[in-house]
Symmetry: C2
Subunit: 133 residues, 2 copies
DNA sequence: CGGCTGTCTTGACGTCCGTCGAATCAGACA
DNA sequence: TGTCTGATTCGACGGACGTCAAGACAGCCG
């Protein structure tokens, strides 16, 4: 339905101020990723071996009903983050790397040499970082 | 209040599936950027010449009341994306480049050589791309 | 001290979002 | 053709979100 979150272009958010029109187009993409379920769905789709993944593989991974997963997938679709294709009985979802890349570019901070090192990982100390040994 | 969106760590979303706990911590950061006003605020703060910017410079840039801007700034603060510091009469906000960098890394797609080129910019053709001449 | 300016908090209101159950649509298969 | 399975849409409900007006708090200055 011609939504297609279309960011203005490339300049990192830290370089120059994002104009209102660009923000209006970019924000929905971030909003789509602003839900834990959708973030996981996006990751499962984007990291699929064959480049695509069946809905029937996505649904059982959550404690949610089919319609709810379908709703989240639609949100990702309307945000322009994924593509869907029906093939026979099943529907396959595929990521749009170029779009992810654009969002990444927007958030990318140049070299960041004199950082304060205060990453999200260790804000103070109470955060569990059971990843990254 | 000890919120501090703390992503698990580094592996791009396209590499391996984001675990539920990590998604629960990362999603709020994206959600915070999922509003046009906050995205602009984030950009204005992150692109500030001196590294920080006064609330008195942020508020007049929008057609919104002071409390509303303050509310959005609080959201960004609680998401761990910015820091606030009161200095005399004014309050200054400063970005957290390391956090932005982590979010960027999560969205970064490796090299992406065989792309279909379908970036958000030109999904089909109906999108206005009055940026990027 | 008293007033002033700037910012944040509180309370309220309307809207949007996440979730579900039931119904509907799309293919496959007998 | 009929039926079964998989996925989406529809309708509804509770909760969260964006916004504002009014009030409270912090620091300056006369």
């Amino acid at each position: 339905m011609s939504n297609q979150a279309a960011p203005d272009c490339c300049p990192p958010l830290t370089e120059r101020r994002v104009p209102a029109e660009a923000a209006a187009v970019l924000a929905p993409a971030f909003k789509a990723l602003g839900d834990p379920v959708r973030l996981q769905l996006m990751s499962m789709i984007a990291s699929a071996e064959s480049g695509e993944i069946c809905v029937c593989d996505l649904t059982p991974a959550f404690d949610l009903t089919g319609p709810t997963i379908s709703h989240h997938l639609r949100t990702l679709r309307e945000a322009g983050l994924v593509d869907a294709e029906r093939r026979g009985t099943w529907v396959y979802y595929r990521a749009r790397p170029a779009v992810l890349g654009q969002l990444a570019a927007l958030l990318t901070v140049a070299p960041a040499p004199h950082e304060d090192g205060t990453s999200l990982l260790r804000p103070t100390q109470s955060v569990d970082r059971r990843q990254c040994p």
